[in-house]
Subunit: 202 residues, 2 copies
């Protein structure tokens, strides 16, 4: 116990208050202003009033500032599906998981907006974002199978959920006023049901 | 006219019968045997009994052997949505377009199977495949808007269609006997309707 405390204090010697948050905000602003490719870690550190060394204590590289929450989100998706009521349908469970992720994003809409602007103009980052969403779908499908849902139902619910999430996210970004991402996700799931089941006029 | 004919004959002087098909088959076999990264253009050409120069007359690089049909498929998707009956629902139009692509893939199941095995073990190729599928969704949504379908309906139908296509393709690959991709796509669209509209037990 005392060893832990000593090590903690030792680390605290180099600690800058909220260095991580300051670095993330500085990076996002610079990426949006001058582009991701054009921004160096030295510039990010300078903008945050910190050193490059401090940057690398918090982030592996420039790209990680944009993608650091992924593991946490995968956990949240899996956990929410696992915790859904026994009576929940596969799509109910997927919807609840995506709304939970929506609530996390909703905590900082400005970050989400800036991040999206940065990613949408950079091919490599767009690819990385697609990979992230594919991992969301894989995790959701695995969590549904854990609940005893068989294939192809598990994958259909998971992939459809991610398809709806993409549309809902884009929609939320363009909404005026006080948009609410979890609500937009819920709405979009209802709408996709309508889109799929509408009958052709006879 | 005569100039064209002369140029044509000149090009024919270097022509090898079905060079493109032989190169594509040799490449796919080598990628599957020893991995995409490990295979050189020199090896592909040698396996096909042709020169590297001939390879580069047909393909820009090693990767293009795996992705050369994309533009044609985007055209097919857009055209099929445009040609759907006026009474077709958005999802009917998307379904018809995906079945048309399924029919193209179904023409050479062995190529699709080998190609999938090669792509699934290479991160860069998996990314490229996700980008291709994202382009399919964008094209489908644009074609629906051309038909007067408004947002978010157009994007919801397009993204859901691609989600179902991914699941149907994986399912088709694992099916025994004489699997039929267009039929598996049609079936999967019916199933996703069930997955979305099933009610929770009360």
């Amino acid at each position: 116990m005392s060893v832990t405390v000593i090590m903690y204090h030792h680390a605290m010697g180099r600690w800058e208050p909220n260095a991580r948050g300051r670095l993330a905000a500085a990076a996002m602003t610079l990426y949006a202003e001058q582009g991701f490719e054009q921004t160096t870690v030295a510039e990010i550190a300078a903008r945050a009033g910190l050193t490059e060394r401090t940057f690398f204590r918090h982030f592996a590289d420039k790209r990680e500032v944009l993608f650091y929450g992924t593991e946490m989100v995968l956990d949240l998706l899996a956990r929410t599906v696992a915790d859904a009521l026994a009576t929940a349908t596969p799509m109910d469970a997927v919807g609840a998981a995506l709304e939970a992720v929506g609530a996390v994003i909703q905590e900082n809409p400005e970050r989400a907006r800036l991040r999206n602007a940065v990613i949408s103009v950079n091919a490599e980052l767009r690819e990385r974002e697609l990979i992230k969403l594919a991992a969301f779908a894989t995790t959701l499908a695995a969590a549904l199978r854990e609940r005893g849902i068989s294939e192809p139902t598990a994958s259909l619910a998971a992939e459809t959920g991610i398809a709806v999430f993409k549309v809902a996210f884009t929609r939320w970004l363009s909404e005026q006023g006080q948009p609410d991402l979890p609500r937009t996700i819920r709405q979009s799931i209802e709408e996709v049901k309508g889109v799929l089941t509408v009958r052709a006029p006879v």
